[in-house]
Symmetry: D2
Subunit: 406 residues, 4 copies
């Protein structure tokens, strides 16, 4: 196994990836480069430096990727109104290609011949990391310790720590939760533990990013989101950078009990799994984007987007961000967003996101035509007869030939 | 215009359709048959009899279509998870083909050669009525007074009433609202008036079927919905007929502030229009159906349904219920529902519908495989490597040939 | 009807459109501007000038649009591999938006307030002209004489000619055929006459652009087409402009009996119609484009294109070239063509187009991997097991739960 | 490896699978059951009995599956007009699920705990066999010797034969070809050898099932195919069973130089591969089915089929015949075929399949409406104006707001 000289590891600073550092050093007799990213998970990333150093790591990368994450990954995805399986806003999925991209960039910079990650062999994340990596650097070697080693129980892992002098307080505090969690600026997720029974309702204190609707304020919060080319750029009139926008929305929406989701989803590797998610800001952005599109997007463009969306969402979920087919869909989606400009007014109240107003200089809503009142000839009702008659023609011919549609 | 001998009119008993009765009699010198249906709009239909009699109508049909409506139209549509433009649950759309079907049946029974309705020339309903009618009886003549007459203002209409002795208290009380409304067991809708400004937030007393989230109880309501072949058949363990199910869910969900929607939608006739909707029971059913599918439906079947859904919804919205293409899609959807059986537990609270549990004898959720704990060999993590490698192969080859996916 | 001051007419110089010139002058008391385009229909366009002058037309436009037609309409469409209803290469459909665009440009230049065309009220072309025109200039008035006048038989038309001194030898010679024909650089079409019986085989002398396979040479012709970004740019090594390319391919392919098609298609206006088409060069280009894509396009990009194609073809057929949804699809398609470069070798023989070779510097065909021989480790066959196992997982779980797929 | 007691092998009687018999016996110390099917590959299957006996096999299955193959696999697939990547008629793909099904049935009958096949680890067939098997019997063990053993060159294989006394004249004569071939009633395929250069034109004597167009008769052959519910049931008026139909069409079409195809396709396992195919009867059936559909199928049903088709074809190609999603699509397709009845007349000539007539009692072609002549009011041309106006409305509104579609 000495064919690996240097490996770049996606390193959280937590216990599991600290074990991986040591295991890689031991197993592959190779140098380990750690890479720790701030993508808005809500924890300090700087402490990872000391931990990596303590493990003998010489090349340590710690990056703030928050703006890039929201600008180049979250925003393009929200232009697509992407929802997986009718519910899931793809919070974990969309962060993985960015990590993969950075791993490869660092591998190129440091001359590493392999990358490694802490995702298990049962989940989607291994797929997303590795597809991204292979797409960007086809000859890269990927080491997935969870698929290789035999440290598959807490006990064997602890024994390994003891044997190799890995301080157990490396253990990420977050991990004291009985759930497996993942967080970034877009969401935090919970899996495992009692959630493995899909009939079990999670206890209130599992949730970390939002108050319950019950505990939310009795007064609604009104906000105004300003859109430009399909992206939210102002909040209550103030221009915000992508990461600041999402962070701010998370705070406001979370405080109003917004963004919790509890579902059973289908993993790419073939099994169903239960997940709980908090996506406060994303939940607001999803509704707001549809609202601004509702007045600015052409009908057939909107319908085409709706028909392409499940496919786009599936690509992101399955890890095909860096693929020709995702780029094709993105090209179509982005083409549609040139006039998706304007303002959406929203009411946030105890878990509810209510669209209460939308306006735009590019609005296609034409009051003069839509009105129930006299429209001064803007629309000729008699046109409807011909419209219906010709749309019915094929159905009438079929009925004339004796075909029943009952 | 004397080529019409008898016309069947979709008659609400309200002022507009009462004027139409007289106008048809005058304009076409023909006999008018009235047809009034109870589809759960929440108003007595029997009073329509006296009103029709007063207008000289001899053949009067008053039908209770509630069970047929929910069983044969609403339930099949919910199997598809049909949502138009990401939001609208198609409450008005799905009732129209049933009315069209009954109009044609009555035309056949009474020997009528025409049908008529009170829908305007700007809306979707004319299309839905007429496509349905033509599909079921291709030679039928359709009379759409709003596209023909000149009674286009309230004043001319009132003058016509006075001249023709039509009592203005025929006027449906509902119409005292400033909004144009439509209701059936699935929903009530509001259009027109101030809603024609999409930046205007509707006042609280517009809404009729639900309390506001603010006014809803401070305690959540938990319910259990039992599914069979994709349809909800029990509520809290009690078997309910389709119409009773929906009526009961409307009551419970409406009392918890659930089911309001405010949107701008794209009409088939080419314009955007603002609509507000209350769909309390339907909102619950939509979430519940997806939840029971989440544990019982195969992944690829679910994804195929998701990709077909926008198209199905568009067909229903545009009035193509009685069409070969809707039947094809329905065949695919129904094929998928054989194992969609089980129970969903829901928490209803101040506008929120939260899925808190799902279970089924047909569950495909396999705890033994999904678990984060030791799975006793149910799943071989090493398989993931080959899975990823071959899925990545085309991307690696492309990258090897110098193609970048950035 | 005096609200029209000046109308731009798509004028062929033939009898029908000559009658329209006079009829417009008479009926609308307006000035008529004629526009005659060379889009490769194979007839002189200059003679239209004298005819128009004889009818008193003062502003006469005669344009050679052949290069624009192929470059901006035919080539983008062929990038999509667009085929309507499995067979039709959209020869007529793709020319109409260009005519519409020119009509509007001329209306803008001449200050005309209306356009007119000679398409009937039963066909697709009226829709294509008018949708294009409305999309480019929403306030334009469209006059479609065939939907308005009563000159609906040859007799009434001839009587009108006599009365208005329109020389009947204006009659386009082409029209001596019993068929209604339309031609441009991409194809020639035949409709009407005996073709209205779909069981009737057209006689050999109907066809004008190709010899029959029987009459084609006994020796095959080999050609090489060079592609750049999805467009054919060289023929047998020689760079050719778009129009020259198509004209040359028409000649070569037509001489080899290639490109005839006889079908029943579904018109947008609701009826089925029989059409026969000759598309010699297009038939070659379609096969060749797929062939060059077969080695240069990523699998999923190719499959996405295949799934979008019917929709794209339908948009072109129905006249929605100048629409947001066609532009979205085009953006996706064009995104995919960056590496569609290389050479296709074809054998043309008695109606057959046989792809006999393809090569490209951007080829993704990797002999080292595909080989049945020893691949020196380029592909690890053991990966296939994991690939299959995980792809099968959902099916196995379902089967374990007793579901049968038989 | 002693956990396998009995394995059912898909046994051709050729050298490779004979080696596999011995290798399984040796490697797994298990009993081997052979299964040899006649699916129309054009070779005797009975000789496989003696060969299996010579290898010590006690349970030998030899089945004639030709009718089941065409009736239950080929015909349903042709109802879908399934073509993979625009060209390939799926001849190999569609036979694999039937073999998988029979392997599992025999495993159930004989109490075997494993199945085995001779497909390599690079191809699609391993996937098709194994997905089918797992879907029908999730606990089955699959042994794929080509992924396991080290007999990866001709030399090592021959050495194994010598060592284990396997007579080399077991070698299938067909294998003397330099190509890897596969045949069944639908097609014969060629891969490998010189074909691995996609710019190389195959030599004439590679092809086995058809004469070249050059060598085909100078006189065309006319045939009439009668359809019932989308399936061909009569040839020139004579009722033929599915297998007889296909066999007869193969003969007629092959004699006329029809059905050759040379392409580069994308395998499910991620690589491109060159394949040549002869599908004489299938090529005729594809054109004929589309022709009968062209007059009997509703437009929107036809378009829906066209949009679903690439997905259906991909499922078949990738091996998902026994899957919920293929069944859903089949349900939609079969729903559409109830009226696909009638007769298609075809002219076969030197590689060309020309549709020259179609007729049906269920025809939706309505000459009275389609005619260029006076239609006696069957169609009101004035309806077209309203049809166009409303279809253009959204485009006009957008243009009015300054959006350009150029």
């Amino acid at each position: 196994m000495s064919d690996v000289n240097k490996v770049v590891l996606a390193y959280s600073g937590g216990l599991d990836t600290s074990v991986i550092v040591r295991w890689l050093q031991e197993t592959y007799q190779c140098e380990v480069v750690t890479f720790t990213a701030d993508i808005g998970q809500g924890e300090e990333v700087e402490p990872a430096r000391a931990k990596a150093e303590a493990l003998g790591v010489k090349e340590i990368y710690i990056d703030d990727l928050r703006e890039e994450f929201v600008r180049d990954f979250v925003y393009p995805m929200f232009r697509a109104n992407a929802i997986y399986e009718g519910e899931y806003l793809l919070g974990t999925s969309i962060a993985r290609p960015l990590i993969a991209k950075r791993l490869i960039e660092i591998a190129n910079e440091t001359g590493a011949d392999a990358i490694s990650h802490g995702a298990t062999g049962k989940g989607n994340d291994q797929v997303r990391f590795e597809l991204g990596a292979y797409s960007l650097k086809p000859g890269i070697k990927v080491i997935a310790p969870w698929r290789e080693w035999d440290l598959t129980s807490r006990e064997t892992l602890m024994a390994y720590c003891e044997k190799h002098n890995i301080p157990v307080d490396f253990s990420n505090k977050k991990k004291k939760s009985p759930y497996s969690m993942d967080a970034n600026l877009l969401h935090i997720s919970y899996e495992g533990g009692n959630l493995e029974d899909p009939y079990w309702e999670p206890e209130e204190d599992m949730w970390r990013w939002s108050v319950s609707p019950e505990a939310a304020p009795d007064q609604p919060t009104y906000i105004e989101l300003g859109y430009r080319n399909g992206d939210p750029v102002t909040l209550n009139g103030e221009e915000l950078s992508p990461a600041t926008m999402l962070a701010t929305l998370n705070k406001i929406a979370g405080a109003n009990g917004i963004g919790r989701l509890d579902l059973v989803e289908n993993r790419y590797v073939g099994m169903k799994s239960r997940g709980c998610y908090e996506t406060p800001g994303g939940t607001v952005m999803m509704r707001a984007h549809r609202a601004i599109e509702s007045i600015t997007l052409d009908r057939e463009a909107a319908h085409l987007k709706d028909e392409l969306m499940p496919r786009y969402a599936k690509l992101v979920y399955n890890g095909y961000w860096f693929s020709p087919e995702r780029r094709m869909l993105q090209a179509a989606i982005d083409e549609s967003q040139a006039f998706v400009n304007g303002t959406v007014r929203l009411k946030l109240y105890k878990g509810n996101v209510v669209v209460v107003g939308r306006k735009s200089d590019n609005s296609l809503f034409d009051e003069a035509i839509a009105t129930f009142e006299d429209d001064a000839g803007a629309y000729n009702q008699k046109d409807a007869e011909g419209f219906i008659k010709l749309n019915a023609l094929r159905l009438r011919i079929a009925a004339n030939k004796g075909r029943s549609q009952l």
